[in-house]
């Protein structure tokens, strides 16, 4: 048996890559839900962004234009969610469901119309993808025992969006807990009436939060289609939006905890790709279906409160109606 193989560099390396979209989506959800808007449409926004980033990257050959298109697409869906749940005080969960289906349907519809390849985009090549970045001294340090390979293979050699997602964690923390905007954002998720009577627009704040959520989901989707993979395929988010949501609950809506939670789920996804390693480490075969279902089962266990109780922002899910 080889337990250490469970933490093989290649597994950890793919953990980092698989964590990235989860982390970005999780932070996206964090902004929205901290402002009191539940968002189960993370999945749809990522999918929409994945398609538009891949499509634009394929057509222009520029991954950066692709990224912008992805962000714009995701924000368009955020706009719909905001319109439904903020302006028209609709049910936030139902709006999220609608957005997921809208993205699932529209992506294939448009892909078929634009590319006629059965709902996918052409494979991205060259400038159409985010290439890995080699951090300074990575090659030089590779010879240093233990830390060398960790730096060279695990830390270095990812696409720029991976580093963006990691920097987004302290960034989110700082924004939430050290700035005026963060104070107001947290307040509007706890008691919108307090914000309103203080002369600050509840709608404005919530739209900004939902907008940031759109941007982050956009980056997550773009990473999926142009970084992690080379092009868009139907339903390529494969439940990641829901796993991110689960991670958000696990993290109790806190940025640093979101990093740890998504790393855990990213690791589970990475290890599920390597049944050979699991068999080597545990001495028996684990059904591949069990591995697929594990993040979801774990989420249910977390939700059941067996791993600490998660208390969401108090005004979450409730549309704000002015009253005395």
């Amino acid at each position: 048996m080889d337990f250490l193989a469970l933490f093989d560099l290649s597994v950890l390396d793919s953990t980092v890559r698989l964590t990235t979209p989860l982390l970005l989506a999780c932070l996206a959800g964090l902004f929205s839900e901290r402002a009191g808007i539940f968002d189960i449409g993370l999945e749809g926004k990522m999918l929409f962004a994945a398609f538009f980033s891949a499509a634009v990257a394929a057509m222009t050959g520029s991954v950066w234009l692709g990224l912008l298109a992805g962000i714009a697409a995701s924000m368009a869906l955020s706009g719909i969610h905001g319109l439904a749940s903020i302006t028209f005080r609709g049910n936030q969960l139902i709006s999220g469901v609608a957005i997921n289906f809208l993205a699932a349907g529209m992506t294939v519809l448009i892909a078929q119309d634009w590319f006629q390849q059965g709902g996918r985009t052409p494979s991205l090549i060259g400038g159409g993808r985010f290439e890995p970045i080699t951090l300074p001294f990575a090659n030089a340090l590779n010879g240093v025992p233990f830390f060398g390979p960790i730096y060279a293979e695990l830390i270095s050699g990812h696409s720029i969006l991976v580093y963006v997602s990691l920097l987004a964690v302290p960034g989110t923390w700082w924004l939430l807990f050290r700035t005026r905007f963060g104070l107001r954002l947290r307040a509007v998720g706890e008691n919108p009436a307090a914000v309103d009577t203080a002369g600050v627009s509840v709608m404005g704040l919530r739209f900004v939060a939902v907008g940031i959520c759109g941007i982050l989901c956009g980056i997550a989707g773009a990473y999926l289609a142009t970084g992690l993979q080379a092009g868009f395929v139907k339903d390529m988010t494969a439940g990641r939006g829901f796993i991110a949501l689960a991670a958000l609950i696990f993290a109790k809506w806190r940025p640093w905890h979101a990093l740890w939670a998504t790393l855990l789920f990213g690791y589970l996804q990475a290890i599920a790709l390597r049944p050979d390693i699991i068999e080597g480490a545990l001495g028996f075969r684990v059904q591949v279906q069990l591995l697929d279902a594990l993040p979801y089962i774990l989420t249910v266990v977390i939700l059941a409160g067996f791993v600490g109780k998660a208390i969401p922002p108090r005004a979450g899910g409730e549309p704000y109606v002015k009253e005395r």
């Binding site: 309103d196 002015k322 005395r324």
Partner: protein
């Protein structure tokens, strides 16, 4: 002649078919306290919401210090020097006092400089107006009195010159209310203008300089407080002469119906909400439970009504009732002859979207009279509802109308009819006249007294001392989950009960506000509760 601090001219506002404010004009001079009094639903709060930019008036103008001012939103109201202390505080519960104070009035994008500046300003304001708060305390851990001071400080921090308070004493003990009025007096001395909205005549008489009376969305009169009387104000409020007293004979109590011993309740957070309650209610008497909201009265009703598990013993006519397990729910209580008119009729007693007939069956919907086989007997329920509506003079008498379409008083009559008509041994009744117009109050009080005279036991919970003193035969005062003392209503007064409500049992000795405050601060948990 100086310009009024604030003047409203011809303000009108309709919500759908309801005219909440109709051509309202009012002038308040600087450095005075102006009261606005009226029944629930008279339009007082709508008027203030317009003043604070929450609603846009359909017609009318606002002048601040003689200047015509548009108030499209709260931002504009704050800029015009208007501060507002709402009935339900608008504080972020898990923020500190300081964070709540700067929220919306920060200096610059970073928090640190804002917080240190606010800390300094706060110290100055504290000294100037004698308003003590702990800037680093988290809101959910401080008492209501202090929360209210935070709200006042919030307004002063924004340099408000006109301070409006909406029903500020609802959650305070009489002593705390006195302290609030002293603060208001001090603010007035400093030249601030104060508008006090209340439905309590006594407060108006005690503290205001002038008073306006509102009725059904209209301003019926504005008078100098010194030149009017409570009776006159009451008449102006209702539009006819009213009895401020409940007409009843002395009680003739019989056997003990409800016997409660050492009743304890612990809430989800592990805080003990009831800390060993002992009380008895006899047949043919009304026991009133007085106390500041949030001291365990609601929990007492909830346990007796079967919402919540508890420990201790409770017997009804000598036989024990279950406090935990399968037979401790509301249905079992009804089967045992306990009827319950809950404190919050809109969220508990009624389902607002249901028709009156469905609400009449609610809780008793499995009664033999209301079912046939597996199905509900809707025809029988509707017929019964029509009869009950007639007997209780519910208007309009339409069983098909949804509960939300009735006025507060008529909603309460629907609940009361449902509960009383079942001939219970014990009636639990919470805040029977909250949000009910004066006309209906008289009717409801008469019904309760009539039930008592039929030899039923009644447990009445109310935060209105006046109501308890008028209606109950005996009164028990609750503080911090305990009973501080029992008195006959004929042998006590508001002052004595007020001290008991603050947790002070040696009511003969004189007490200072500081003592009362210290006592309140020691109370377990946070006595504030949304009501």
């Amino acid at each position: 002649m100086t310009a009024p601090a604030i003047e409203l001219k011809g303000i009108s506002k309709a919500f759908g078919p309801v005219q909440a404010n109709k051509d309202i004009s009012i002038r308040v001079m600087p450095g005075t306290i102006h009261g606005i009094i009226g029944e629930n639903g008279a339009g007082k709060s709508t008027l203030m919401s317009i003043l604070y930019g929450f609603y846009k008036a359909d017609a009318g103008e606002v002048f601040i210090s003689g200047q015509k001012t548009e108030i499209p939103d709260s931002q504009a109201a704050i800029a015009a020097g208007i501060g507002m202390v709402f009935q339900h505080f608008k504080l972020v519960e898990n923020f500190t006092v300081l964070e709540n104070i700067i929220l919306g009035a920060e200096d610059g994008g970073l928090l640190k400089p804002s917080l240190s500046k606010a800390r300094k300003t706060l110290l100055e304001l504290e000294k100037e107006y004698d308003l003590k708060v702990d800037p680093d305390a988290v809101i959910e851990q401080i008492g209501v009195g202090m929360q209210q001071r935070v709200e006042i400080l919030k307004a002063l921090y924004r340099q408000a010159n006109i301070l409006t308070l909406d029903e500020p004493t609802g959650v305070l003990t009489p002593a705390e209310a006195d302290q609030l009025f002293r603060i208001l007096g001090r603010l007035k001395e400093e030249g601030k203008t104060i508008i006090l909205i209340t439905h309590k005549l006594r407060e108006i008489m005690d503290i205001t300089d002038t008073v306006s009376v509102m009725r059904r969305g209209e301003m019926t009169a504005t008078v100098k407080t010194a030149e009017t009387s409570p009776e006159e104000l009451a008449e102006l409020m209702v539009g006819r002469k009213v009895l401020l007293r409940v007409d009843k004979e002395p009680a003739t109590p019989g056997d003990v119906v409800l016997d409660v011993k050492n009743l304890k309740v612990v809430d989800d957070q592990g805080v003990e909400r009831l800390r060993g309650i002992d009380l008895q209610v006899r047949a043919g008497e009304i026991l009133g439970i007085a106390g500041v909201a949030g001291n365990g009265q609601s929990e007492l009703l909830e346990v007796l009504g079967g919402y919540e598990d508890a420990t201790g013993t409770v017997t009804l006519n000598g036989a024990p009732i279950d406090l935990t397990g399968k037979y401790s729910d509301g249905r079992s209580r009804r089967d045992r002859g306990i009827a319950h008119v809950p404190e919050d009729r809109q969220r508990e007693g009624l389902i607002m979207d249901f028709a009156a007939w469905e609400n009449t069956a609610f809780g008793y919907h499995r009664d033999a009279a209301y079912t046939s086989g597996l199905l509900s007997n809707n025809a029988a329920i509707k017929a019964d509802t029509a009869e009950k509506m007639e007997r209780f003079d519910v208007r309009p008498p339409h069983p098909h109308l949804a509960a939300k379409n009735f006025s507060g008083g008529n909603q309460q009559k629907i609940v009361l009819a449902r509960e009383i008509e079942r001939n219970p041994d014990l009636l639990l009744i919470g805040q029977p006249t909250r949000g009910v117009d004066i006309g209906a109050i008289e009717f409801i009080h008469q019904q309760i007294v009539a039930l008592r005279d039929q030899g039923k036991a009644i447990l009445l919970v109310s935060v209105e001392l006046e109501e308890i003193l008028g209606l109950a035969d005996r009164v028990a005062v609750m503080f911090d989950g305990q009973i501080m003392g029992e008195r006959l209503t004929t042998e006590t007064d508001e002052k004595e009960l007020g001290l008991l409500m603050a947790g002070i049992t040696d009511t003969d000795k004189p007490h200072t506000i500081a003592e009362i405050e210290a006592n309140l601060a020691q109370a377990h948990g946070n006595p504030h509760k949304e009501i």
